[in-house]
Symmetry: C2
Subunit: 335 residues, 2 copies
């Protein structure tokens, strides 16, 4: 069997046994946005990594080097945000085509340094190697939090409310514009390209959720709403019901969809790279949560559904009709 | 200017400013085998990463998938050993060609799991992505140690003795056999190929050195003796004098060299990937060190030179003649 047939999640399932050989210190291994270990003086450490490979995750001519550096760190920061952590230290591995211009790589590194400075992360080392032709980046990031602040994927319970911290689908629209699947006027394209190429990880939102101790589970949206909500459901042993009319869509996306004749909900449900936070909150705490986010600070907050005992993800329309949804997120091997 | 002209170390010099933006917690950033941060309850954490790219660091047909997995983790463990640390948790990022056979990757992962189990390291997560054609691996590893146990590159002082923990040059001979630059009989080749493809990081030796508090500086040999000794000299602001007749060479290497007509000292000085420990020890403690390593447990130990106030690396022969050596290690971009 070849890799493209088994896919990323199939492969992870096939190797995840016996990875943790000594339980001492490991609080969470494979299966969440970050690994968690410790505690050290009452705090636990969060540990995450992401690899970006040219022509798989990006095309060199559709993103500036600066944006690429920014984004490579941003996707890792988003994993720390999803656990409610504070990012601290990162290592940057680069595989650089030997013919690449040094000034380009320095621009790229500038993007990395700027986002690290913005989020108060120290770049403490890395590895710089040659690559035969493709640019390769791997960022490893460590953060921390108090042990009882950390929010896992596994805590969702039936009756919990499901919230999302912003409009969804814009990044996927940006990707479709880059791939020339949609060709809007230039003035319209800029918004989506910026969302796609310059994600802003929700560290502050994650910290507020962590310290408030209101959320029962959380994940960041990287693979797409259905896929990522599917991870929460799987880890928590529950299902979910989404409210069709409550899925938050930007006015920009609605306008683009009407002009380019597609259903924006498709991008919202199955697109990826939104880097928003998706969380669940027990019903009794949902009013406190909404008060905490009033005036859309630090993020907007949208109630989009609720956790159910019945497994699987379903969506209910305003007319009461319910449809079953098949989680289809961005899967690197099987797209 | 292109990347191959500036090289790995030139690039690192060009970007290392302003990487650490908040000193709180960072004990050592760029410039040692691991980053060091903390302390947490009197312990500090060691953080390192290495990227291996197909056709740069290995050829798929000269190493088994199992050995490749073993080696990808081993090179990171060696960085923890070089600081005197205990390895704890790793993340594994894989960029996998979509056409690759799943069984091959599982063999590869078996090598990773076996070395992690051997050295009591937990695999706590990672990232699995597609790659257009080359196999890419990035391992990030965290270890720890007591704050005053950690051995840096920067502590060497004039008069310190320089020690090496094993025979050197065998791995480079293995590489030359793989590249068909040397073609010994099969019975002779096996030894060198095993040294090159299955390095054993010296974790136990590093721990004994850390707890004994005898070493003033340490590094692992990955780039080659001259290059790595050069790093100690640069970070410590000193020079070194090597004793030509004391550089430890295996009987296998001497035999191979006499048959294939090369000078084994060239491989010993400028080869790479030995994954031994190179350390310095104040003269007053050198007898204690030698007693600690008597009977070659946990490693052999060879006195190979001494640290000098005069900068640069020189080598003295038994007849008293001194030559200046130019550090030429394995440089990924300029080879």
């Amino acid at each position: 069997m070849r890799f493209k047939e088994i896919g990323e999640f199939g492969f992870i399932d096939s190797i995840k046994e016996q990875c943790v050989i000594s339980l001492g210190g490991v609080i969470k291994g494979i299966g969440d946005d970050c690994a968690v270990f410790g505690p050290y003086s009452g705090r636990v450490l969060l540990f995450t990594t992401d690899m970006l490979v040219e022509d798989i995750h990006f095309l060199r001519d559709t993103i500036t080097p600066y944006q690429l550096g920014w984004k490579a760190v941003a996707v890792n920061l988003s994993d720390i945000a999803a656990m409610g952590g504070k990012p601290l230290y990162c290592l940057i591995s680069l595989g650089i085509p030997v013919e690449m211009n040094v000034a380009v790589i320095q621009d790229f590194y500038k993007g990395m340094k700027d986002i690290c400075e913005h989020y108060r992360v120290n770049i403490v080392g890395g590895d710089t190697v040659a690559s035969p032709d493709k640019l390769i980046m791997n960022v490893s990031l460590i953060g921390d939090a108090k042990e009882d602040e950390v929010i896992y994927r596994s805590g969702a319970r039936p009756g919990d409310k499901i919230y999302l911290t912003g409009n969804i689908g814009d990044s996927c629209a940006g990707l479709k514009i880059l791939k020339k699947e949609i060709s809007p006027p230039r003035s319209m394209a800029g918004y989506f390209l910026k969302v796609h190429n310059e994600p802003n990880p929700l560290i502050e939102t994650g910290r507020i959720l962590a310290t408030s101790r209101l959320a029962s589970s959380m994940i960041d949206l990287s693979d797409g709403l259905l896929s990522d909500l599917g991870h929460i459901c799987e880890e928590s042993g529950v299902g979910a019901l989404l409210f069709r009319s409550k899925i938050p869509l930007s006015s920009e996306l609605k306008l683009l969809a009407s002009r380019a004749n597609f259903n924006p909900l498709d991008l919202a449900l199955s697109g990826g790279e939104d880097y928003l936070l998706l969380l669940t909150v027990p019903e009794a705490k949902s009013r406190d949560l909404e008060l905490l986010f009033k005036d859309e600070r630090p993020s907007p907050l949208y109630l989009i559904g609720e956790i159910t005992e019945q497994e699987g993800i379903r969506m209910v329309s305003d007319n009461g009709s319910v449809e079953k949804l098949d989680p289809k997120g961005f899967n690197h091997f099987m797209s």
